[in-house]
């Protein structure tokens, strides 16, 4: 089992969810997070207009953190590529700020309702 952690744009969450449902992965956890990438946060990513006076009076250009959504999906080992490619296909706009995907190992899983353990708990 692996955990796929995807940091994506907030407005791409439902598209990603639909793409994952079509692949048969309905379970996911989403958290509203803020963060920054290699560019240290850029203002153009968010659809708000910043008053020019405010922009030039601040010592730092741009914003410090950008709002993002963190999706966490637990998948069996053999479907990592499929899910990863689906997330990339949906979220790719070609602009900076599309996000990152991390793949981390998961040692175990337990479904609380039935007590199923291992891969039976996540499918």
């Amino acid at each position: 089992m692996k955990e796929i952690i995807a940091m994506i744009r907030p407005k791409k969450v439902s598209a990603t969810r639909n793409a994952l449902v079509q692949l048969g992965y309905t379970c996911l956890t989403g958290i509203a997070v803020r963060g920054r990438g290699n560019q240290c946060g850029i203002a153009e990513e968010v659809g708000v207009t910043i008053h020019t006076d405010a922009l030039y009076s601040s010592p730092a250009v741009g914003m410090r953190y950008v709002p993002k959504r963190m999706l966490s999906v637990i998948v069996p080992d053999d479907s990592i590529e499929k899910v990863k490619n689906a997330i990339i296909a949906v979220n790719q706009t070609g602009q900076i700020g599309d996000g990152k995907i991390f793949i981390c190992p998961i040692e175990g899983a337990l479904r609380v309702r039935t007590g199923e353990a291992g891969e039976a708990a996540i499918l």
Partner: protein, 105 residues
């Protein structure tokens, strides 16, 4: 690659992110969380706070810079009192940039 999850005081967040950025660790994610540690919350006067607000900083770094990043976080988060936080380290198998689809950080 390793994922560093640091649970720290909310007021130390900016200090840590500045220090990390100046050392070249620009990318990070922050989450506002609530939790408690070994002391099971805190009692102020007659009021017991079971869970305290913390900030979770999540970042993925290359293996050879893990110690440097952890030392930086520890230095900035340290006050010597209970509640300075914890740092967890976990393995990351792979990382991909969505924009290009390329592997790596």
């Amino acid at each position: 690659m390793k994922m560093i999850r640091a649970i720290i005081r909310p007021d130390a967040t900016e200090r840590i992110s500045e220090a990390l950025a100046s050392a070249g660790f620009v990318s990070m994610t922050q989450i506002q969380v609530f939790g408690r540690g070994k002391q099971k919350g805190i009692t102020v006067g007659t009021v017991h706070y079971d869970e305290l607000p913390k900030t979770l900083i999540m970042m993925v770094v290359e293996d050879n810079r893990v110690d440097e990043a952890i030392a930086l976080i520890q230095k900035q988060a340290y006050t010597g009192n209970f509640g300075d936080g914890k740092i967890f380290l976990s393995p990351v198998d792979a990382a991909y940039t969505v924009r290009t689809g390329a592997a790596g950080l």
